[in-house]
Amino acid sequence: LGIDLTTLGLNLNSSDTLHKKFASPWSDEPVRGEPEYVVPECYY
């Protein structure tokens, strides 16, 4: 019966393209981008 393809870690309903965050065929998580730290003004 195949598998539930929504369990492969890809957001098939995403309005954005998937390939930008496609980590690898073995990974069920999108590629983790850089954690965005906000440097508060006071430190500039």
Partner: protein, 522 residues
Amino acid sequence: DSDPAGFPGQVSSLFSDWFKICEFPGNNDVACARYVQHLHQRGMLKGDEISDRFFRRIMELAVSHCLSTEVINSSSSQPHQGQSLSFLAIDSYAKLVFSILKFCPSDQGSNKLSLLPKVLNVTVRVIQKDAEEKRASFNPRPYFRLFINWMLDLCSLDPVFDGANYQVLTALASSFHHLQPLKVAGFSFAWLELISHRSFMPKLLTTNAQKGWPYFQRLLVDLFQFMEPFLRNAELAEPVHILYKGTLRVLLVLLHDFPEFLCDYHFSFCDVIPPSCIQMRNIILSAFPRNMRLPDPSTPNLKIDLLAEISQSPRILSEVDATLKARQMKNDTDEYLKSKQQGSTFLTELKQKLMLSPADAARAGTRYNVPLINSLVLYIGMQAIQQARSPSHSQSMASMSSFLVSAALDIFQSLIMDLDTEGRYLFLNAVANQLRYPNNHTHYFSFILLYLFAESNQEVIQEQITRVLLERLIVNRPHPWGLLITFIELIKYPRYNFWSKTFTRCAPEIEKLFESVSRSCG
């Protein structure tokens, strides 16, 4: 044959010089350019045999250095999480190649990248040789890292190489084709990750207005051809299952981001996906152009014939009649379609021509030549549609049905009567593979299936037609639009007398199955 005396020593000292340059942090373009100039003066970059030896030797040095740093972390629970490797030498080698391409003085006219195919050629041969020699102890990860470096550096090129992106992408695609799993099975996982990499696949499919499509189509076919023998069985060995799931992920990215690519090459993919791989094939057949809106198949009184797209031909980039030609069957088929000469032996000999010799049957896992059946069915359908559109026939369905009672239908009906269960299943599969998004192939082949069902006086044939449709519907989604509308038509309209067939009630679970599928079809 071995390197000239002293050559390996020369190369390893050259490489250690390069290592020192790489260790300088920050931008050291000047030092890199000077070093490349030095290599050029020593005759290492002429693109001749010495160049090949130079790149091969350095690559082997980098790989052996990388593997010498392998620390088996046996404590790790995951089987493949174990080894940590240092890629310092590999990254340096990759950077050397990038610097050579960037700074190497090129002869008048020859473009900056002329050395790239040579470097990739050496790379392919070293990997193939290493895999042949090491077999089960072959380690693909250094080579994987090398290609990742080149993808990140070369596929997002400096202005220096402006416009050469496509050249790099196709050169890499050709290398991957020569490293396909059927040739280097030990490289399969690394290979699939490379060809689907976000720095490679999307660029190959979008750069240069789809000119890269044939290259990627070939790579996908390479993958399917490798997996085909393993996928004939439902039970998959763990590594095959991982590769299969990885393939599904790649196909889902293509379905979501590049559906037109799957639409236009569906025919060649169906040739190499085993009939048992229903869900994987459904992903490909469910693709439809992004600018198309599909009407809900369960809309009451949906008028398929009135859909604008239903009379348009789908784009098919594979050569549909290639296999027919290869078997010298195209002329006879054309002859029969045109003249339908009575009493010809075309129909009686057809079944035999579709069969494989016992030896080939053993290898192919079936007694029939599946690509030939696929080619014959689609080719005949396309001819029939074309003739139905010719001026002498108007567009309406009436003319379509009058036209159907003609050569094309004769062939389909004789096939469904003459073929045995396996042959008939493959024939019906070839027809069902055309049930996709609204286009005139979907329309025609949906009509053919329903017509063969209605006209058949053998319930076993009607059951098999139902089985071919049903097995594609009971698997997990996605389901092709054309498949849904065909099944809905079959179970809804009295002319097919579907619910009176005994096979719809041959067992309680089958009865429940039909009810649940018809409910899910609305």
